[in-house]
């Protein structure tokens, strides 16, 4: 006797439920959580280093979770900003999931969500898999460097379409790279119409002011 059992269940149901729980906790604590996603080598860590340093200098309470397959190199780099940083090693897994975030928030010495204004999550360098995994973040940021090619958003539409903000990094070397700025902006807008785009350089600090102002606005929405 054959029969069909209807399930109609999300495959990532467990992750989605955990992410919902995290989102509720972030909301209750009034912390703005950002999930930074890009290819390896885009400059997520350098961009985050500068962001943490500048936010800290402005008196904001910040912390970061950083995902990598192996090593705690990035956590050590980011910790130089003076912000609390915790490394998540995924040991081969190509993305962060809500369970990893939940586990690393628990028992993070000296860090309480309620004591933070901003929590940054630097995802594993990968433009495919992280788009499937909700971490409960308020803002998903897709980063793209001037060395990667203006058509990156067209090649990875699933990730760019799921982003709330886009950051172009390494603008200081845009010219020698022959970076076609107009084309890059157009491509991002084709995939995610109307998205906020920030053109930055972690090295020179260009574009950081606008980025930090945006963070401030989004954070203020959390309080209202």
């Amino acid at each position: 006797m054959t029969r069909i059992v209807e399930l109609r269940q999300g495959i990532l149901k467990k992750n989605d439920e955990l992410a919902r729980g995290l989102r509720g906790r972030y909301g209750a604590a009034g912390v703005l959580v950002l999930n930074l996603v890009s290819s390896p080598g885009t400059g997520k860590t350098a961009f985050l280093e500068r962001t943490l340093r500048e936010l800290k200098a402005s008196g904001a309470r910040v912390a970061a979770l950083v995902g990598d397959l192996e090593t705690d190199n990035d956590a050590r780099r980011l910790a130089a900003s003076g912000a609390p940083v915790r490394q998540i090693n995924t040991h081969g897994i190509c993305h962060l999931d809500a369970e990893m975030i939940d586990r690393h928030l628990a028992g993070w010495e000296g860090v309480e969500l309620g004591g933070l204004d901003y929590l940054f999550i630097e995802n594993v360098g990968n433009l495919v898999c992280p788009s499937s995994y909700d971490l409960g973040e308020g803002i998903r940021v897709a980063l793209l460097s001037v060395t990667e090619g203006e058509d990156k958003p067209l090649k990875y539409p699933t990730l760019f379409n799921s982003a709330d903000a886009a950051v172009i990094t390494k603008m200081d070397i845009a010219e020698p790279c022959g970076f076609d700025r107009e084309l890059a902006l157009k491509n991002i807008n084709e995939i995610r119409p109307g998205i906020r785009i920030f053109e930055t350089s972690a090295k020179t600090g260009s574009g950081m002011e606008e980025w930090l102002a945006y963070l401030g606005e989004e954070r203020a929405k959390k309080e209202s």
């Binding site: 006797m1 054959t2 029969r3 069909i4 059992v5 209807e6 399930l7 109609r8 269940q9 999300g10 495959i11 990532l12 149901k13 467990k14 897994i93 190509c94 993305h95 495919v128 898999c129 788009s131 499937s132 067209l154 539409p157 699933t158 990730l159 379409n161 799921s162 807008n189 084709e190 995939i191 995610r192 119409p193 109307g194 998205i195």
Partner: protein
């Protein structure tokens, strides 16, 4: 490449649901996968054999139904199907939109079993309730 972990989640969920059907053999598992789900259907099928080995789902077939992206066009005031993932514009009027209504699905729709132990008539069930 997270298809193996996706497929493993499917195996876990179906195995859990199978507890209500002791002795049943799984013939087929049907998924709905959106074009924006960041999942490669070929890889899901490739991983299926590996992930089901030694489980009650071993030998079953994986059937993946893809779900096109549908977005709402404010100008046409209609839900429209996207023709390509290269441009999120209304195929009728070319207006850009980020108001997605469909296309990120990653779901187990149903599974088919051969329920030798079951004495009741076959049919379609919704989480154990006969309809």
């Amino acid at each position: 490449m997270h298809e193996l972990s996706i497929v493993s989640s499917v195996v876990d969920s179906v195995t859990e649901s199978l507890e209500a059907y002791p002795g049943a053999k799984v013939l087929e598992v049907r998924l709905r996968v959106g074009d924006l789900a960041s999942v490669v259907v070929d890889s899901l099928e490739f991983c299926w054999g590996i992930a089901t080995e030694g489980t009650p789902l071993e030998g079953s077939k994986l059937v993946v139904k893809t779900v096109p992206v549908v977005m709402h066009c404010a100008v046409c005031d209609a839900d429209v199907e996207l023709e390509s993932l290269q441009s999120f514009r209304c195929p009728r009027c070319d207006e850009p939109s980020s108001d997605l209504r469909q296309g990120r699905e990653l779901e187990i729709e149903s599974f088919e079993i051969d329920d030798e132990a079951g004495s009741e008539a076959g049919g379609v069930e919704t989480t154990g309730v006969k309809v």
